[in-house]
Amino acid sequence: MTVLIVEDERTLARELGIFLHQHSFTCTVARTAHEARAQLADTPFDFVLLDLGLPDGDGLDVLAEAKQNELTAAVIILTARGAVEDRIGGLELGADDYLAKPFSLPELLARMHAITRRRFGLHKPLASCGAFKLDLQARRVLHQGQEVSLSVKEFDVLSYLVLHKNRVMTRLQLTEHIWGNLPEAGFDSNYIDAHIKNLRKKLGQLADVEWLETVRGLGYRARL
């Protein structure tokens, strides 16, 4: 999968690149609207991560122009301009998703996966975790073909951990993933701990949940 990162902040673009590279994406960086136009005219990308506040123009203009030129890439708008108009404007122009900076990188990855599933119809075979199967499309957890009843938030936590398997997810990253769309009501990791406890209880009745690890002081990991 190829990604064009349109971002004028060097550090930011670099860290994005490093992260996506680890997840086997091939990245190209454009630092200006001009560069972005040139790249888009040249190469077909699978993803465009588009920052709106570019030094030489508005990212929305780049997007509008690219869409006129039959852009096929999935576009995620990344911006600190958390204005509602930006968001609406971007989505109207055909962006697939919108993330207000700063989001966490695992969150970006989760969104990219969601778009991949939606857009490219890549029905991932069920992700397995231990004795369980995760159907991300239908948001279900199956054990020997039987559905395990989980709450919405519990499923969110579990699928996030499985998506980023073998990586430690901090409580903060999990909290942001679950509550990200909400006004910040103060960070409280207790809820994450409670969800993990419930997950272990519900899944543990059916099979071994050793793979759902607590990493002391850091957070949780799905070791698969």
Partner: protein
């Protein structure tokens, strides 16, 4: 007192003063005038009589051995007498004198004139009773007074109407420019129609002031946009770096813990910046208020959103919003935030197995509505209550993870929507937030 009233009053008073002056001055003037008029009439009559005598001889009046002639008109208002007098100095005077006429004394204005006719001298006296002069004068005075009174009343009424018309633009300026407190973003710069230069000047000056205000507001808006970009971008860079470091296998556990701590610090910074920007944006009117929001529906959404938090603490949330209330001209997202912040507080400061109530009821004032958020938590101390909505003011007993901004966001959103907030709390028993929503259309 209104300007128009003052003006009209002043005018009326000045007219009354002139009137009184006239009434004071008139009698002597009038009587003087009456006297002059009388005297000239008497003189005319004298001329007439003398012409008659010259033409027809004295015998027309005095016949044979008579030595005098006298004649009164019926009401004794006038008399003429002619008598022969011994030669002497010439008499030609007009003066007041009393005469006895048929047993009554009457005051007359008398013209006495001596002349020679043939070899004899005569004295002609023509009199007019002063009573009749006075009456003329009195009538004249009464009429004049009435006329003046009517004139004063009419002109005062005319003044009032005219001033009111004249000052209409003034009140329009106050109404449109100053009273209907539009947000600077929604200023109306259309000039107010007036033919009065002073008002035009006032209106222009006010419009200049509005332009200045509007400029400073858009400057602030721009600052908010810039600040959010300039502050959040480096934070994003930091956050990605920490995200990447976490997956670095070579990092020692100790350093990993440091990274997690740093990540939390970045998160904290970010939350504070986002909250402050949100408050500024609300105060800057950057959220459209065009939606009608049902409180029952909103409460249901909020409680669904916090369901998992409730279950963690084993809390029950009861919602009784009957009858429902629709908040017109509001921003759904902001109202959600307001209620969400209050409910999460009610959760955070509750006790294991406690309760939360969302209770809605019509308020005492017609059309307005009260929504109560009550919890059975630890309560708020008396000292803390007045400082509850202050930014960054975290009282004792506040959650250490709190940023002290949740309630100031609540307050800002409430102010924007004209919602009154009242807090009652008993330490150890719980807290109740009362939101009073104004009747539709009164914001």
């Amino acid at each position: 007192m209104k300007l128009s009233t003052k003006f009209s009053l002043f005018n009326a008073l000045s007219r009354v003063a002139i009137l009184l002056l006239l009434v004071g001055v008139l009698p002597p003037v009038m009587s003087r005038l009456a006297l002059v008029a009388t005297d000239s009439r008497l003189a005319q009559k004298k001329e007439k009589v003398l012409r008659l005598i010259r033409r027809n001889g004295i015998s027309t009046f005095i016949e044979g051995d008579q030595s005098s002639y006298g004649s009164y008109n019926l009401l004794k208002e006038e008399f003429i007498s002619l008598e022969e007098i011994p030669p002497g100095p010439r008499i030609d005077v007009i003066e007041d004198s009393k005469r006895a006429v048929e047993d009554e004394i009457v005051e007359y204005r008398v013209l006495s004139y001596s002349f020679a006719q043939g070899a004899k001298y005569y004295l002609l006296e023509i009199g007019r009773s002063t009573g009749s002069i006075d009456e003329t004068e009195r009538n004249f005075r009464t009429y004049a007074l009435y006329m003046l009174l009517v004139a004063v009343a009419l002109t005062t009424a005319a003044d009032l109407v005219f001033f009111r018309y004249l000052l209409e633009p003034f009140y329009t300026i106050i109404r449109q420019r100053l009273k209907n407190g539009h947000h600077p973003a929604a200023f109306n710069f259309a000039p107010i129609a007036t033919g009065t230069d002073d008002f035009r000047y006032l209106d222009e000056s006010l419009r200049e002031m509005m332009t200045t205000i509007q400029a400073s507001f858009s400057k602030e808006r721009k600052f908010i946009a810039d600040a959010s970009h300039e502050l959040l971008t480096p934070l994003a860079a930091l956050q990605y770096r920490f995200d990447n470091m976490l997956s670095d296998e070579s990092l020692s556990d100790e350093n990993l813990l440091r990274v997690v701590e740093s990540q939390r610090t970045v998160h904290r910074l970010r939350t504070i910046i986002k909250s402050l920007l949100m408050i500024s944006k609300i105060e800057n009117d950057q959220f459209p208020r065009t939606e009608s929001v049902s409180l029952a529906q909103l409460a249901a959404e909020v409680s669904e959103e916090v369901q998992d938090r409730l279950s963690v603490l084993n809390l029950t949330l009861t919602q009784e919003i009957e009858p429902d209330f629709v908040v017109a001209g509001s921003n759904r997202g902001l109202l959600f935030t307001l209620l969400f912040n209050l409910v999460t507080n009610a959760i955070k400061y509750n006790r294991e197995g406690g309760q939360i109530f969302l209770l809605g009821r019509p308020a005492a004032a017609a059309g307005s509505y009260v929504l109560e958020i009550r919890d059975t938590g630890r309560g708020i101390s008396k000292e803390q209550l007045p400082r509850l909505f202050h930014r960054f003011d975290k009282g004792a007993g506040t959650d250490p993870d709190s940023y002290g901004l949740g309630l100031s966001i609540v307050r800002t959103i409430a102010d924007l929507h004209g919602i009154r907030i009242e807090v009652n709390s008993i330490e150890g028993l719980g807290t109740s937030f009362l939101l009073t929503f104004p009747a539709a259309g009164t914001v």
